[in-house]
C-alpha cells in the first residue's frame, strides 16, 4: 500500500542527490543548472503527491507555475552560459573572476 510518505521520501532523496550534485560539480556551470532542474523536480514531486492525497488541485497548479518559471530560468541560464563561453572560451567557475578587485 503506497502512502504519502513514500512519495515525500522519494522527493527528499532526489533533493539530497541534487544538493550533493551541487557540491561535487561546483566547477561545472552546466551540471549546476541540471542539478537545479533536479531540485525543482523533487519539489514538484512533493506538490503533486500532497495534492493527490489532500484532494486539492491547487498544488498541481503550483507545479504548473513552477514549470513555467523553471523553463524561463533554463532559457536565460543557458543564454548566459552561451555568452560566457563565447567571451571566455570556458565555463569553468574559476575563470569567472572579473569582478575580483
Amino acid at each position: 500500500m503506497l502512502t504519502l510518505s513514500h512519495f515525500l521520501i522519494l522527493g527528499a532523496i532526489l533533493f539530497a542527490i541534487s544538493v550533493v550534485g551541487i557540491f561535487l560539480n561546483r566547477k561545472n556551470l552546466i551540471v549546476l543548472l541540471m542539478t537545479i532542474e533536479l531540485m525543482l523536480l523533487s519539489v514538484n514531486m512533493n506538490f503533486v503527491a500532497i495534492s493527490h492525497y489532500k484532494g486539492n488541485a491547487d498544488g498541481q497548479l503550483f507545479v504548473f507555475f513552477i514549470l513555467a518559471v523553471a523553463a524561463s530560468e533554463a532559457a536565460v541560464g543557458l543564454a548566459i552560459l552561451v555568452t560566457l563561453f563565447r567571451n571566455l572560451k570556458s565555463i569553468h567557475v574559476d575563470d569567472l573572476d572579473h569582478l575580483k578587485g
Binding site: G21, K27, L38, K54, N56, A57, F64, A68, V76, T83
Partner: protein, 209 residues
C-alpha cells in the same frame, strides 16, 4: 504488494539511479540524457498520482523543449571535461555524508503517522485536465497571466543575451543617432569676403560636408 506498488518502486529506482548518474556522469551529454530519463520516470510517478496533465506537460515541455535546449547547448560547447571535474573526488566523501544526513533527517520527519495514515482523497469525477483548466481560468487567471509575462521576459532576455547583430545589415545604431551633436556633423568654415579685384587666385578652402 500489488501492481501499483510494483510500478512505483520500479519507477522510483530508475529515477534515483538516473539522478545519481546526472551528478556523477563524466560526459555532460550523458548527464543530460540521464536527466531526461529521470524526468520521464517522474512523469510516470505523476501518472500514478493521477496528475495526468502535469505528467503530459512534463514530457512535452520539459523533455521536449527544455532538455533538448540543454542538449543543444552541451553539444555546442567544447568543454574541457577533466578540468571541470576538479575537486570531485575531494568533495565526494563529505558530499555523500551530507546527502545521507539530509535523507535520514527528512525520512525521520516524513515517516510519521500523519503521513503514513493519510487516506487518499476521493478523486473528482471530472478529468484532471478539465479540473486544472477550470481553476486556471477562474481563480488563478491573474497568476496565469503573470506566468505568461515571465515567459515573455525570459524569451526576450535570452534573445538579447545571445544576439550579436546582423552581419552586413543596413541598420543604424539608434543610440548613436540620438547622441550625435551638431559639431560632429557640421564644420563651420570662416571664409574671407570676396574682393572685387583678386590680386592672385585665392586658395580655396575645403567645405564641410
Amino acid at each position: 504488494m500489488n501492481f501499483t506498488d510494483f510500478v512505483f518502486f520500479v519507477l522510483a529506482a530508475i529515477l534515483i539511479i538516473a539522478a545519481l548518474r546526472v551528478i556523477t556522469a563524466r560526459n555532460p551529454v550523458h548527464a543530460v540524457l540521464n536527466l531526461i530519463l529521470a524526468l520521464f520516470s517522474a512523469g510516470g510517478i505523476w501518472i500514478l498520482l493521477e496528475a495526468e496533465f502535469l505528467a503530459m506537460v512534463l514530457v512535452m515541455v520539459y523533455i521536449g523543449a527544455v532538455m533538448v535546449l540543454f542538449l543543444f547547448v552541451v553539444m555546442m560547447l567544447d568543454i574541457d571535461q577533466d578540468r571541470l571535474r576538479q575537486g570531485f573526488w575531494r568533495y565526494l566523501p563529505l558530499g555523500v555524508v551530507m546527502g545521507f544526513i539530509i535523507v535520514l533527517e527528512l525520512g525521520l520527519v516524513l515517516s510519521n503517522r500523519y503521513f503514513l495514515e493519510m487516506p487518499v482523497a476521493p478523486a473528482p469525477d471530472i478529468s484532471n485536465t478539465r479540473l486544472l483548466g477550470a481553476l486556471l481560468a477562474s481563480e488563478y487567471v491573474y497568476p496565469f497571466e503573470l506566468a505568461a509575462v515571465v515567459l515573455l521576459v525570459a524569451l526576450v532576455g535570452a534573445v538579447v543575451l545571445t544576439f550579436r547583430g546582423r552581419k552586413n545589415g543596413h541598420h543604424g545604431d539608434p543610440a548613436a543617432q540620438i547622441r550625435v551633436r551638431a559639431a560632429d556633423r557640421l564644420r563651420i568654415v570662416q571664409m574671407p569676403v570676396e574682393k572685387d579685384e583678386p590680386a592672385e587666385p585665392q586658395k580655396e578652402e575645403q567645405g564641410a560636408c
